[in-house]
Symmetry: D2
Subunit: 303 residues, 4 copies
């Protein structure tokens, strides 16, 4: 690899491609594959996000990808939806705090590795989301989780929001484990004295249609968990995805899906025989920005 | 550490305690804490299981813990429920197969690291579960996920089954992400032409009651994911758990909950200030059998 | 896996073997292979130890294996030799200290994860080792590293010492990176005003003879580093080892030798085609005591 | 983080700095610290390289840093020296080979993760290095390892070579474990019938002088092993380094130095109280090129 002054991200990633081995080789191949699947009009891009990637700095990158039409379907956790809404309501994430966890609790700070949340932001979240739930439930008593997330997106007024942008652009967001989050908790408390029901399996039909109406599907998987499984398994009935990229720090030996090599998905018909699969082992808050910057530059140069 | 001939597991774990540092120290402290919370009549034990631990050999250990009254509440994934049922229907898990993933797919073998499933077992699973769903839905049109799991347990006839045993012993099993599994897929297909609805947030009330009626709660967490989050977060409103053990191979730096140190839970009031917390970094299929064998021996000796 | 009351370690490991998959399967296969290579009179057992395993509690296990004739050749780091000597001189390792690293430094405590050393023990070490170096250098001015380690073993009077026991039993200890340790530092300072020279490459001839006079070689590798490389590479000229076990927490993707799968060694002729290779991913302070206890019990039962 | 079209690497790294948390925050802080220590005339930069980073694509980056005066002292393994020489003699590293390890061995290919070496390149290496050893040993019978490495650098004629460039620029390379490598093996075989002796502890005096003549020292540590230990420990007598950056995939729980947090070094006086320490968890073949490209751009902009 050759480092020159004032290199663009793509120039650096192409140097990694020239080396072609170890992490650098994976980094290049993932970037190239991302550019390819975005540019291929026949391929729908399914983006799966687990782990604290919205508070971890990827909110705008994901929002911009949706806004620019680079993502067709998104999968995520209730926690990322919660953090997107919390920011839409004026809350934020904090850093540089060094008390121990017991003191943080007294101060109303929740810790995720080296990032922090404030309980006062969650109080605003609680107030705002309850109002939104009231309005949504006045119109509809029965929604699938995806419909509910779209309704949330339509209820917030923040162009930086992933939910807002996805709702505007018609990009569906699926969050099968949504209930297990602060958003889910508020929803549960709301339903204690309001008539409102989320249909847990209701999204499968719609998602299945999305898969079948796409000529090809590529999944881009950050972290593991339910979003990863759902993004892959939804392609099962059609014989699997045509391409997949995953960024993970988990290891494969324990058999957990989060650390599983993408190749395993071929045995389950979640990835097609011959599908292109690239795993980058690393922290998504480093790897994904490089991959997106590199892929965007590739695309802009190929236009 | 001193190795003697024909040591019992507890004797070995106690040697690890004498060393007291690194993994060995953690192994001892986790075993001791498990014995303590099981023996303490005021402490409810919440067991959370993520990753392929039922196909990975822990089915009987978990079933026996439930049968012997050592576990009060269980949390798991749809996949572990699926594998427990698949075995109850006569299916199994296989090993020693060395084809590549594309060939495995042709042969109808699904791979999880070095363990394998057969599609013919899943066909039996499909047939059997559809019959059970018919019977359940004839009685009830509306169930929470926990109620549905209990109904499943009451519908199988296999003393080795976790679901069967939990139903018999009245141990509730919560699986907030159940829908995202083969079991969930069958349920979805069934509901396409049958009236039957699972309530996604319906379990929260019951689980919350379980938490409040327990003087103290200890969570034992194998793997991460939704089960880990749910097991901890359900204690939020009561100020957090009193003790927690976790076994994981994931790392904490990325901020994902699966690899998060238990101490973080204190900042969120998911673990109480002063609660006892032990993490063992390792493969649960090795660590948990040792921990259970050691704790059971401790308990039998203290009687 | 089936947990019964008061199981022996071997009974538990055999349960892991019945499951046969994931970590549990590896744990059983490693234990069985260890018992097999120890019992096979034609196989020389090469034990490689990297990482703080002497302060981490494995000192007596290793010393006993050497004393009982289960190990034929040992490889380790200068740090493990230093810690063995420090204990032979009356020093110890400490735990349960919770100051931050800057305060620890002021108090003269060196930290290795959650274990601690005291500078006063190192002062005793310095005094004692200088005396020993004086005596050794009065007899010999030129030693290979292995000869020097044997001379150290003959100079201490502690039956618990690995160096003492290895010297008594004629088990050679190779430590190619010995100079990079507290022991190495003392040696360097001694040679500033004394005539004494260690031959860096002098051990290769002797070690090569050891390899060629063994019908078969099995390496048991705890941790990675120089000891792992030396233990394997010394078998290169004879076409590689016949069997190998490794316990490691490092991962393979970065290409570092410490995390490399044993299979790679076959491509380099450091392991023979058809050699038996088992890796257990885990903490050696947990995994190795189980493996040794299980293997010893297997052997005692097969007698 | 905000991704714009055609971003420079520094612009991207600055976006990571704005986020400031998780891996992205570490990536920025490491890059900034690297730029700072390079620019500070009072700080000597000690670069430590373990793992297959020369065959893994970092050869030119390291060579250029030395050539441009950004590195003052280097530490590495015998393997990286071997690979640098192998390339200087016309050899290379290969990729895209997919045979199993037993077949690779038959074909004379050595595997390191997904990169490959050819035995015919090693045959050229053997021939060339033997000639060089003859010439060196005709002049000198006694060299320290560092002097020997400089002599090697002066014997090759390849401007792309790290050894050549370091020799030209007067940058010392220390490799305390050099003997444990293909280069070490050739040296050993040469000394079987030639009079030539490497002094294992001879470098300590010179290195110690380097440390004491530097007002401040910053270590940049890629991977762990002996090079990491030596780079830090050589600063012990002066109270420790003033700054350190490390890039590693190893974890800290096992206590191995390779995965140890840099903070531990403070307790041992290998890092000063108040020293700036940044760890990035990741693959050095991805992380280091970004860090160097970003730091070089920072420096060129601040000029």
């Amino acid at each position: 690899m050759d480092i020159k002054d004032n290199m663009s991200v793509l120039e650096l990633v192409e140097q990694m491609g020239k080396s072609g081995v170890l992490g650098a080789g994976r980094m290049y191949r993932a970037t190239k594959l991302l550019a390819d699947v975005i540019q291929d009009e026949d391929t729908a891009v399914f983006l799966s996000i687990a782990g604290p990637l919205v508070p971890g700095g990827l909110r705008k990158i994901v929002r911009d990808m949706i806004n620019d039409g680079l993502v067709d379907v998104m999968f995520t956790s209730g926690a990322n939806l919660t953090h997107d809404l919390l920011m839409a309501f004026g809350g934020d994430h904090y850093r540089g705090i060094h008390d121990n966890d017991e003191k943080l609790c007294e101060q109303g700070m929740g810790r995720i590795a080296d990032l922090y949340t404030k309980s006062e932001d969650f109080e605003v979240f609680e107030k705002e989301i309850t109002e939104i739930l009231s309005k949504i439930s006045q119109k509809e008593k029965n929604l699938t989780i995806r419909e509910f997330i779209t309704a949330l997106g339509n209820s917030v007024d923040d162009e930086s929001s992933i939910l807002y942008t996805a709702a505007k652009k018609g990009v569906p967001i699926y969050a099968p484990g949504m209930i297990d989050s602060m958003l889910g908790l508020q929803l549960f408390m709301f339903t204690q004295d309001h008539e409102f029901c989320l249909d847990a399996s209701g999204d499968m039909h719609e998602l299945s249609d999305k898969v079948f109406e796409s000529k090809k599907v590529a999944t881009v998987i950050l972290g593991g968990g339910l979003p990863k499984h759902y993004a892959l398994a939804s392609n099962l009935l059609k014989g699997g995805v045509d391409a997949a990229i995953q960024v993970t720090m988990d290891r494969g030996e324990t058999g957990s899906l989060s650390g599983a090599p993408l190749e395993e998905a071929k045995s389950w018909a979640k990835a097609k025989a011959g599908s292109k699969l690239v795993t980058v082992v690393g922290d998504a808050t480093i790897i994904f920005p490089i991959m997106v910057a590199g892929a965007r530059e590739m695309i802009s140069k190929s236009d």
